[in-house]
Symmetry: C2
Amino acid sequence: MIKAVFFDLDNTLYDNSLQVRVAREKALKAMIDSGLPSDIESARKKLSEIVGDKGSNYQNHFNELVKALCPENNIKIVAAGVVAYHDAKKDHLIPYSDAIHTLLNLRERGYQLGIITNGVPVKQWEKIIRLGLKDFFHTVVIAENPGDYKPNTRPYITASSDIDIRVEESLMVGDRLETDILGAKTAGMKTAHLLRPIKTERTNGKTPEADYRISCLNDLLRIL
Amino acid sequence: MIKAVFFDLDNTLYDNSLQVRVAREKALKAMIDSGLPSDIESARKKLSEIVGDKGSNYQNHFNELVKALCPENNIKIVAAGVVAYHDAKKDHLIPYSDAIHTLLNLRERGYQLGIITNGVPVKQWEKIIRLGLKDFFHTVVIAENPGDYKPNTRPYITASSDIDIRVEESLMVGDRLETDILGAKTAGMKTAHLLRPIKTERTNGKTPEADYRISCLNDLLRIL
């Protein structure tokens, strides 16, 4: 019997991809307004090359972009991009439209709720607070060291023991097969793979199937 | 003849001290609301000890505070403080009420304007942009390496040469004798020491007198 539902955070409870996409677009416009000698198309193309090249966690995408497109590296243009990027990211940090409804319903029905996520603890908590979700969960487990990241089973086991249930008594909900679902299955949880209609996920044949496939968080209310 | 007026940024064009004070207070309240086991008075006292001890540029004041007051270091409480702090800092990043009026008037009267400041370039530019001041200045010089910080004369010489004037043709306006005024005098500029009524600055006898002492930015319109 399922007693607890655990959720991944990024792209499961809110749309991180949309947030980043909008924020990059606003940053490009702000940089062009501040003198970046480029049209939006070329700037977008160059930025996506840089992101592809340096990885999305690299801290200096805009510096690289300005360096590539400006004869003299103009820090004012970089700062214009940074300001627009952060403002847009914050404006778009909102839960998926069905998240609150689903969480409230699950709590009313007596389920314990948790978050299991990878990342820098204070950053992940900042998101949870800004999303307005901080009071919904009985436990939040943030795997801080890359060695403990999902699909490592440690965060799943910690989350279950935090709320005094056995791992088999819980359902893990996440958007990524190779981390969220794989780790949860290995730990012994039931799993629900959130695959929103606009997204596709390529699998490499080695990733497991989830017990359930859902296309929105509300679907959980039907499964449980 | 004075052709250009240079300004320090922090505490000269906006009230950085107030901003930090309000932001810390809001952060303390948010942390107590999130479960920090302390009253506001004790938390304020402890935080000010930590700031005194670690310096104001230390990045983990709230971590230390929570560690000191909570039996178990609770990252959720730290994050609540960080969110409130950043939001309050941004809300209070506004120019002194007479800044825009003074800058506009000086420009109309034909003066070239500049900023000479110490710090991380992209961070200082972020402030200038958020303050709404990015279009007022003919040059912005940010001393990035501590070795070049004011009172080193290098940033003053760079600023003057950027706008093709001799250093003697400029007036430097700043709130700190031992950096803003000392460096400007050494470089050969005229100087105006901004000493707002609510502030006092202790001098150690080695700092110079400025050519002018002003109590608000508007006073510049009288001097020039």
